[in-house]
């Protein structure tokens, strides 16, 4: 427990640091319409580290960092120039090409590496749970320096992002400042990705900034909202991953996604006032009711057309309330169903007991001979076949119930839902 609290705390602090800088950079990225720039820069920096590795430098050595940085800066040059090339093609296309080519090139290089290429792979699959306090301090210090740099020149960076035409008219060196932007951005993304992985860093960059931009036009307010949303989503993701025993990175990404969906759905209710707000509420209610009616009409039609196929709605209802299925079965069929389920769970228990026995015999008591191991394996296999048999029986009985439900539930459900839909759509 205390261990979990400790590394969850470090992970949460790392998440706060990441939210802090990425929400800000995300606003730039979204306004510039270069959403995948972080993937491109992280990948090109990994390519640099791969080249260093192939030249015989140890991963995490100063030389490896040097190569990664040099490649990142080269990537920044390409990106800052791409603004001028993008007459006929969008900048996003150039970014995509940089991403796939550097990923493929790194792949080809690693293919020729003798040993230890897994260190390079780790540059892109960081895991926020294994971050240490040292990582946290290093990250916070580096990002503080970059944040200070952006704060100092905030007017120029913002003007360049929000109104590049005016920036040019004012005589600002667009390519030079673009380069500084992408270079600092590349340094941030590269160190974040090594700690938290590509998927999670992308979420930190885009989602809090997007939520901020949904709710406000003012840069400061966008930032505050984005920060709050990012911290909240991180806490929810970490908590869910602990409570439900789930992989942390993936859970956090989904928590960010849910946060964006909720923020988007709630927007009309939060920003609208008076009559407008009432209208929004009414629209939401309509949408919800029609959604339910359409899905129940589709379920009814599907049940009537093909009762033996998967029926997601009925499966869910029967899992909660088995009586819905039992009502359509004769007493004998109900008995068969129950005993098949019972036997199946007994067999499952038996085969896991055998597995346990074998596992323990590896290191304690007398050793099992090869023939004993073969015999246990064939027991387990027969048990698994029997289990499949019992599952088949249950499915068959369920299908009989479904064929009766076809007329008793499927057709009426379809007709009633269609009727109600006609009423609500009027």
């Amino acid at each position: 427990m205390s261990d979990a609290v400790q590394f969850l705390t470090v992970a949460f602090l790392v998440a706060i640091v990441l939210t802090g800088i990425h929400a800000y950079l995300g606003i730039h990225v979204l306004s510039r319409n270069v959403v995948f720039v972080d993937l491109a820069l992280a990948q090109i920096s990994a390519l640099g580290a791969t080249v260093a590795f192939m030249l015989g430098h140890l991963p995490q050595s100063a030389a490896a960092y040097g190569y990664a940085l040099a490649f990142t800066l080269a990537g920044a040059v390409l990106l800052s120039l791409s603004r001028h090339w993008s007459g006929r093609i969008t900048q996003e296309a150039v970014i995509g090409v940089i991403y796939v080519v550097s990923a493929a090139a790194a792949f080809l290089l690693i293919d020729k590496a003798p040993q230890g290429a897994e260190h390079v792979k780790q540059l892109l699959v960081g895991s926020i749970l294994t971050a240490t306090i040292d990582d946290l301090i290093r990250l916070a210090a580096l990002y503080a320096v970059i944040a200070a740099f952006h704060w100092l020149f905030r007017k120029r960076f913002l003007l360049l992002t929000l109104d590049p035409a005016r920036a040019q008219a004012q005589g600002l060196n667009v390519s030079g400042w673009d380069f500084l932007f992408y270079a600092s951005f590349g340094v941030v993304v590269t160190s974040s990705v090594a700690i938290a992985g590509v998927l999670l860093v992308f979420s930190f960059l885009i989602i809090p900034a997007a939520i901020g931009m949904i709710y406000s036009d003012r840069i400061a307010r966008k930032l505050y909202i984005g920060w709050a949303a990012g911290v909240l989503a991180s806490a929810a993701g970490l908590g869910a991953s602990y409570a439900w025993d789930l992989p942390t990175g993936a859970t956090m990404v989904c928590a960010f996604g849910v946060m964006l969906a909720l923020a988007g759905l709630a927007r009309p209710l939060v920003t609208a006032r008076g009559e407008e707000r009432r209208r929004a509420m009414r629209r939401a209610r309509h949408l919800l009711i029609n959604g339910i009616l359409i899905s129940s009409a589709l379920s009814g039609a599907w049940l009537a057309l093909n009762p033996r196929a998967d029926q997601p709605l009925l499966d869910a209802l029967e899992a909660v309330q088995p009586a819905i299925r039992d009502y359509f079965l004769s007493p004998i069929e109900r008995d068969i169903y129950a005993s098949a389920a019972n036997v199946e769970s007994k067999i499952r228990g038996e085969s896991s007991r055998i597995g346990q026995l074998e596992r323990e015999s590896r290191w304690q008591g007398s050793e099992l001979t090869d023939d004993e191991v073969r015999r246990l394996a064939s027991y387990v296999q027969s048990f698994q076949e029997m289990q499949k048999g019992e599952q088949f029986v249950q499915r068959e009985i369920r299908n009989r119930a479904r064929e009766r439900q076809r007329w008793a539930i499927g057709v009426p459900l379809l007709l009633i839902s269609l009727g109600l839909l006609l009423v609500t759509l009027k």
Binding site: A11, P114, L129, T130, D245, A377
Partner: protein, 308 residues
Amino acid sequence: MTSIQLLLSLLGLALCCGAAASDRIRVVATTSDLRSLVEEVGKEQVEAINLAPPTRDVEAYEPRPQDAQKLRDAKLVVRIGLDYDLWFNRLLVDASPDLRRGGRGYVDASIGVPLLEIRAVSFDATPGHSHGAGNPHYWLDPANAEVITGGIMEGLIRVDPDRARTYESNRNAFLARLKPKIEEWRRKLERYAGAPVIACHNSWPYLARRFRLNIIDSIEPKPGIAPSPSHLAGLIRKMQEQRVAIIIKQPFEPGQTPKMLAERAGARVVSLAPSVGSVPGIDDYLALIEYDVSLLATAFEARRGGKP
């Protein structure tokens, strides 16, 4: 004039080389371990290669265009089976019927091995009744080399019956070297029987069975899916309660999580070799097991010495 002479001599060279090469049975194995065992049985009568490089995850190998070319010249293929080298199926589709499942030149080395952790579901669509799959890392039990080399010997005899006696005596010579070695290795580790160990992935059940290791849990129960915080916390607790001394990993598996666990629970990470050639200097099958056994013995010994 000279150019024609040169051409003729080149032609002669090619012919004589061709003769020498065709004299040896070409064998394609999916892994380096099987290649090494094929060499033990075939000795100089065979020319064996492996397709997947041993330094990376064999299960994730993507066949190269040249692999199909290599199969074209092969008389015998030897695979691990049990869904471990599923990618090999794609190559076999275009190979000669002799090399496909059921053909003369096809050896699934898992046949006859006492399998652990059987499951009925296999992704390999075999015609007829599915025989399921077990944990595929069976070559890491040196006693299984007897069954594996048996299958290889039968395969070689099917494609090259004239030299049956040679293959039999080669295999017997190998087993005569192997058996005393197994006893020696077991003696080396018997003091540590039952000592608790954590593994990165469930890749070592056969090694554990032969050398009586107690692998209490894996860091990633499902390979490629990062462990949850509660699983990690549980691991740390177990490691402290049972005084786990070592965490074993394969060289290509990511090291961050094992390192963190080792630091928190006072254990050390031991990078064992899963295959011939996965660490420089391990050139054949016996050297592979020798390496892993002595690494384990050293790690356990260091822990014992470290304790007051």
